[in-house]
């Protein structure tokens, strides 16, 4: 039903950074949408001093056993500039079943000579390699200058567990999970991140099987036991590797109905038909509301028949997108108007420069 999962995102177009206090309060406002089994946040611009390095976030079951294996793998492909256990602070409701770690990593582009984006492709390869071949190690984030904080717990507990108020970002997204089809676990908490892309999602991707087969044919591997993972990989494939615009990617993932296409002007009809035919296996079915972040923008959209809630509002240089108006107003009490985007149509906030 429409009660499950709460999502929120905020982008400051002028890249003025915000600490995690506001999004923690906003996400906690939607506690009713979760079950205490998963929550998380992503902050863009969180590592300004190490912004040229890929911030590989890893959940270790037992770092003494598995960390050397990960380091061995990373060392084959580049250099580790810095590594640290991610600071955490005990919370009554969070059981620390994994040790979160981050590596700041620089891949050697000469090792992937035929790629147009060799560094990204090396990191993508490493994420899939570690997640499929080193049990007890899960890479859950791999972007430059992006911090991801997630665990099993309520939004406010997870925020305090990582002390997100100590981090600054010019774009934040957050998620409060109510797991329905698979059990809640740390790796199944949102946001899902790969390279630039971070995704929070309310709903279910009933086309998961088709979408998974499609992206796995491009080298991605699904290892998190939940559907949202494919969305991050689809964005990476369609936008980074295929060069589509955000608008076109959303048209591919949540296209208009054929009867709507039939009524479009002929040129537009031709384009949308081509997108639907080329990206049929990328089409996402089922009820969903999604916010996707990257280093250029934040985009929110729902399924074509609007089976999950999504509202947005603007204030000054900031765009907010969330499941509930109350969450937006909690973050920005001065906001004048909160509106509902049309089903399947993206709301996009871009940085000014």
């Amino acid at each position: 039903m429409i009660y499950m999962c709460g999502i929120i995102g905020v982008i400051d177009r002028s890249r003025q950074r915000m600490d995690g206090t506001g999004i923690r309060a906003a996400l906690s406002r939607m506690d009713e949408r979760g079950s205490g089994e998963g929550a998380g946040y992503a902050a863009y611009g969180a590592f300004p001093d190490l912004c040229d390095y890929y911030a590989l976030h890893i959940f270790f079951d037992n770092p003494h056993e598995t960390k050397p294996l990960v380091i061995e793998e990373l060392s084959k492909w580049g250099t580790i500039e810095h590594q640290e256990e991610i600071p955490t602070f005990e919370q009554p409701g969070v059981r620390k079943v994994h040790i979160p770690w981050r590596f700041f990593f620089k891949p050697d582009p000469r090792l992937m000579p035929r790629s147009t984006t060799p560094e990204d492709d090396i990191v993508m390869y490493l994420v899939m390699k570690v997640n499929t071949s080193i049990p007890g190690a899960l890479v859950y984030a791999s972007g430059k200058n992006v911090a991801v904080f997630k665990a099993s717990g309520w939004p406010e507990e997870v925020a305090d567990f990582y002390r997100i108020q100590d981090y600054q970002g010019y774009l934040w997204i957050g998620h409060n999970r109510y797991p329905t089809n698979t059990p809640g676990w740390w790796g199944g908490a949102h946001p899902f991140n790969l390279l630039n892309w971070s995704v929070v999602h309310n709903g279910e991707i009933t086309s998961y099987g088709t979408n998974r087969r499609y992206i796995e044919s491009y080298g991605y591997r699904c290892t998190m036991y939940t559907d949202t993972e494919v969305v991050a990989y689809l964005f990476d494939l369609l936008i980074r590797r295929h060069g589509l615009s955000i608008e076109t990617a959303v048209t591919a993932l949540a296209p208009p109905f054929w009867d709507e296409i039939d009524r479009m002007p002929s040129k537009q009809q031709e384009i949308v038909r081509a997108i639907r035919l080329a990206y049929g296996p990328a089409l996402m079915n089922g009820p969903f509301a999604i916010v996707v972040a990257n280093h250029d923008s934040m985009v929110g959209f729902t399924d074509r028949i609007k089976l999950r809630p999504l509202v947005s509002g603007e204030h000054g240089n900031r765009l907010y997108i969330s499941s509930e108006e109350a969450a937006i107003r909690t973050m920005e009490p001065g906001i004048e108007q909160v509106t509902m985007p049309r089903a399947g149509e993206p709301v996009i906030g871009r940085f000014l420069q």
């Binding site: 429409i2 009660y3 406002r29 939607m30 009713e32 109905f257 709507e260 009524r263 028949i305 609007k306 809630p309 509202v311 509930e324 108006e325 109350a326 969450a327 107003r329 909690t330 909160v338 509902m340 049309r342 089903a343």
Partner: protein, 248 residues
């Protein structure tokens, strides 16, 4: 206890909030004002009697669910499904509302000054003297009156020549009717829905509703008077007979 009760809902969960409302009603309050409402769900759910509740802020989902008798006046927007399975009473919203407004409503009346989201009036029903009414001042998104089984939706499209509508209007409707001010594009009609002109009797039926709507929001009812109105109703007495079962 005083006849008029004020509750500050700042930082309050809906359970103690509803307990405070019920305690006030049990003590004989005629009016309750709740300030700083921000996302609390289930306000006034299952509440009986004739209390008038003024809500300042943004109430969370399912405002007035199963409510039977009271009046809720909201100064702000509503989230999803205000009036869900409401039995009797009134909800007056000085703003817009989210998806599934009046979901499965079975009695009483809802007035929304501005717009409603997707699937307003889904599964509204009626039985004998119970006949729910939803009056929308602005526009509605897709699937208005989806699977409607009874009751009345009146949509006025204030500030425009006609309300902005979308696909699936009355999709699956098998009872009740949707009355629309201004023209309705045939392409928006849902499965099993048929468009016809408003009858003289039906005009008489909507006049008091327009007057009450205008009264609540301080508007001139004349602006809604001399327009064309259309009725969206089931295409036949049993539009879906034989869809899921076969009859001999």
């Amino acid at each position: 206890m005083a006849e008029i009760v004020r509750i500050d809902a700042e930082g309050m969960h809906y359970t103690p909030l509803n307990q405070a409302i019920r305690a006030a009603v049990a003590a004989g309050a005629a009016e309750i004002t709740i300030d700083h409402v921000m996302g609390q769900r289930f306000i006034a759910d299952g509440l009986r009697g004739s209390v008038e509740i003024t809500i300042n802020g943004v109430p969370g989902g399912d405002l007035g669910m199963f409510m039977s008798g009271p009046t809720c006046i909201v100064h702000g927007n509503c989230e999803h499904a205000p009036g869900n399975t409401m039995d009797a009473g009134k909800i007056i919203i000085h703003g817009s509302a989210g998806d599934a407004v009046a979901h499965s409503m079975r009695g009483g009346i809802i007035f929304v000054r501005d717009d409603v989201g997707y699937r307003a009036g889904i599964h509204m029903k009626q039985y004998e003297e119970k006949r729910p009414v939803l009056v929308i001042g602005g526009s509605a998104r897709a699937f208005l009156g989806e699977y409607m089984a009874g009751g009345l939706i009146l949509i006025l499209g204030r500030k425009a020549a006609a309300p902005q509508l979308d696909r699936g209007l009355g999709s699956g409707i098998h009872g009740g009717k949707i009355i629309v001010r201004g023209n309705v594009d045939e392409k928006h009609l849902g499965v099993g829905a048929k468009k016809r002109e408003l009858s003289h009797e039906e005009r008489g039926e909507i006049t008091p509703l327009i007057e009450e709507f205008s009264h609540h929001f301080g508007l001139d009812p004349l602006q809604f008077r001399d327009e064309r109105y259309y009725v969206i109703a089931p295409a036949s007495a049993r539009p879906f007979a034989g869809k899921y079962t076969w009859e001999v």
